[in-house]
């Protein structure tokens, strides 16, 4: 027998657990403006470094620097900031509703607001998101009625989804918001299929796929990338790396071995890793990838580096598995604070307007919540009859019989 040592089994561990000091020294933060900006028809092989760096635009002093710094129109910036404030106010109120027992479930996107919102602002009417459960900013940055979102969360009589779907798994076709599954990773490949259809029909619409760092481990992630690689459809593959999948840190999804962005290299798909808490970077890179897709240059993968400040959901308690102060120690800061400071520096915003805005949106959410609650809370308004509808286009005999048996 050769002299082999016993093998050792490797299970990655995060840098800190409850009681530890947060430690992000392993995350290298390049200076803002240091990453190059390629042309949209670039050969993926020529920009492999962009999957290992972090594209950043806002520097510490609140200046927009480097080749990704765009001349973003003021109304876009203003709408972006307000939408982020609005989303955070919405999340806070919905969390309270759950604590009051008025809904069964909620998920906040605190700290990740810039990603969904700036991306949505770069998209056009007719495009389609295939969101996961932390992209409420897509709807909250458009004119979709807030009260309808709350009706869905409350599963009440005005719930657009008739009480059949878990809170926050919205479906809003007219606003480019594909029905959220709740199963993870499945929709990443559907977005690729949707984009294939756009190309098959010779249209100019593009799809935006969304997935979290944890779910990149699903085989559907590979299915999406291999099909995107083969057919080169107009799709942007968004990986939101918020560091945590419930209690599993990103290393459990393989994030310690390579960046999530680097995974696209094996498929020949261009890939960019971006500061997801830098609104200016999110907007610029989103526009780049969307334009690339719409011009027929194919898919792009973007890893948005961010941090899940909130618990996974209302059913989760992060104090059981990660350092208490980790979210405040997160080196990329808070996206709202950063954009606010940038806009104040440019003379577009002020501390007073910030406070005023927060108050206004809090009022808006309270008013909308009151209206939604008048239609019932936690299933009190949803009809049992609706349970049998929409299983098929036409109700088959066995379902009709079961509904009769139930007496509705």
């Amino acid at each position: 027998m050769a002299n082999y040592k016993p093998l050792q089994f490797h299970v990655p561990e995060p840098t800190g657990r409850p009681g530890d000091e947060p430690d992000f020294t392993g995350i290298e933060i390049p200076s803002a403006g240091s990453a190059p900006r390629p042309d949209i028809d670039v050969d993926p092989n020529d920009i492999k470094d962009l999957a290992r760096t972090i594209i950043r635009v806002m520097d510490k002093e609140g200046n927009a620097v480097g080749p990704w710094a765009e001349d973003i129109p003021e109304d876009v910036l203003m709408h972006g900031l307000k939408s982020m404030i609005r989303t955070r106010a919405f999340d806070e109120r919905m969390m309270t509703l759950q604590r009051q027992g008025k809904t069964s479930f909620y998920m906040k996107c605190t700290g990740e607001e810039a990603i969904a919102i700036a991306f949505q602002q770069a998209l056009s009417k007719g495009d389609m998101h295939f969101p996961t459960y932390r992209q409420q900013g897509i709807l909250l940055s458009q004119d979709y009625p807030m009260v309808d979102m709350i009706n869905q969360i409350l599963s009440n009589a005005k719930d657009p989804l008739k009480g059949r779907q878990l809170p926050i798994l919205y479906s809003v076709r007219d606003y480019g918001f594909f029905t959220v599954s709740g199963n993870l990773g499945t929709q990443f490949v559907q977005a690729v299929g949707w984009a294939m259809a756009s190309a098959i029909k010779g249209d100019t619409k593009i799809a935006a796929a969304w997935i979290g760092d944890g779910s990149t481990a699903e085989s559907d992630f590979h299915a999406a990338l291999v099909n995107a690689s083969v057919y080169k459809p107009p799709v942007v593959l968004n990986v939101v790396n918020n560091q945590w999948a419930i209690s599993s840190f990103q290393g459990i999804a393989g994030g310690n071995s390579a960046t999530f962005a680097e995974r696209a290299h094996g498929y020949g798909i261009p890939s960019l890793r971006v500061d997801g808490n830098d609104y200016l970077a999110v907007y610029a890179v989103s526009r780049w990838a969307i334009e690339r897709a719409r011009r027929g240059h194919g898919p792009t993968l973007i890893e948005w580096v961010t941090y899940r400040v909130a618990p996974h959901s209302t059913s989760d308690d992060p104090s059981k598995y990660r350092p208490k102060e980790e979210s405040t120690a997160w080196p990329l800061g808070d996206p709202i604070l950063r954009l606010k400071n940038y806009m104040i520096k440019r003379g577009l915003w002020s501390e007073e307007r910030q406070v005023q805005s927060e108050t206004e949106f809090d009022e808006e959410v309270r008013t909308a919540t009151k209206e939604a609650e008048s239609h019932g809370t936690m299933g009190s308004g949803a009809s049992p009859k609706e349970m049998f509808e929409c299983v098929f286009e036409e109700m088959p005999p066995h379902l009709r019989e079961q509904r009769q048996k139930m007496g509705v």
Binding site: R164, S171, V189, G193, W194, E393, H398
Partner: protein, 338 residues
């Protein structure tokens, strides 16, 4: 009327629909240039181009997952899973996604797609080219499950399936592609030329999903079956002389329970016959529904004759397959019981 085998009938159905509707697209492993390992899509790429008929990577969850996205866009994908044995990687996409799309989105998004897949044994395909997983799809809410037994039905039902606004799993018993097979594997193979169901009209026609076909009337016992077993049942009827009423279910979900109920109440006996394994097979559902509706008309217990609860073996294929000898013995035992 043209004579077609089941492969030609299936191809013709896709051809008819592709000519009628630009939104129909066809893809799967080897279905493009080559035309499929069973040749069901032969010539379609040449006729309709690579944007509408193309090869997919060996990635079943991707085939169905992309088809779901396309269907949400407004296309009508008709995809092929090369063998039903390969469908399991796509199961999550079927169960959690296609089947629930209409329900969870309140019909904002739907999944009008067809998943064609060859099933069943009888070709020495071993455990990975012989399975009949139909029951797995009848257990989920929101997909229709169809299994055809002849060229006429295959074309008419595939057209119905492509036109259906809900997802349809379309099983094609591969042992029937080239002719009706009655289980006598030691006898010369028959082809569809001389069979009345090999007469397939040109152009568009439909056979509805949800209607069973009484393929042979009788008064002593009802045999509920589908796919390849239809011909085994017919052979057994002839060989035993038992006056069996043979019902080809064709559609397992929705199920034509009215036709089943009327027949069993008339004959007073019921045999359920399928090639798939016994435990929790679709026969269990049939037996339950028959006893719920026909209990006081039954003279004997409902009898199930099926494949054994083993993986589909290779060398022992004909020991596994519920052929005429096994079915005949069971049928005679039923008749002698009372």
């Amino acid at each position: 009327m043209p004579q077609m085998n089941m492969i030609e009938a299936i191809r013709d159905a896709m051809d008819v629909k592709m000519a009628e509707d630009d939104n129909v697209v066809v893809f799967g492993e080897d279905v493009g240039y080559f035309g499929g390992v069973f040749r069901c899509t032969h010539g379609l790429q040449e006729k309709y181009g690579t944007s509408r008929v193309f090869d997919s990577p060996i990635n079943e969850s991707g085939i169905v997952g992309t088809a779901i996205g396309m269907a949400a866009y407004g296309l009508r994908p008709c995809v092929e899973i090369q063998f039903a044995d390969y469908i399991y990687p796509a199961y999550d996409q079927i169960v959690s996604e296609a089947a629930r799309m209409r329900y969870r989105s309140s019909a904002e998004f739907t999944s009008p797609l067809v998943i064609r897949t060859p099933c069943g044994g009888g070709i020495f395909g071993g455990q990975t080219h012989s399975q009949s997983p139909e029951a797995l799809f009848t257990h989920i809410s929101g997909v229709k499950t169809v299994i055809v037994s002849n060229p006429y039905d295959a074309k008419g039902m595939l057209i119905s399936a492509i036109e259906d606004n809900d997802p349809v799993i379309f099983f094609e018993p591969k042992r029937l592609y080239n002719g009706p097979f009655d289980g006598h594997h030691d006898r010369p193979a028959k082809n569809w030329n001389s069979h009345p169901k090999g007469d397939v009209p040109e152009g568009h026609y439909t056979v509805p999903i949800g209607k069973a076909d009484v393929v042979s009337e009788g008064s002593d016992v009802t045999i509920l079956t589908y796919g390849t077993m239809v011909y085994v049942a017919e052979a057994v009827k002839e060989e035993t002389g038992v006056d069996a009423e043979i019902i080809d279910l064709r559609s397992l979900l929705p199920l034509d329970i009215d036709t089943i109920e009327a027949s069993v109440k008339k004959t007073g006996r019921c045999m359920v016959l399928h090639e798939a394994t016994l435990t929790s097979g679709f026969g269990a559902e049939l037996a339950a529904q028959v006893q719920e509706r026909c209990f006081y008309h039954l003279e004997t217990p409902v009898e199930r004759v099926t494949g054994w609860d083993t993986p589909y073996p290779h060398a022992q294929e004909w020991d596994y397959f519920p052929g005429p000898a096994r079915v005949g013995a069971a049928l005679k035992a039923m008749m002698e019981a009372v």
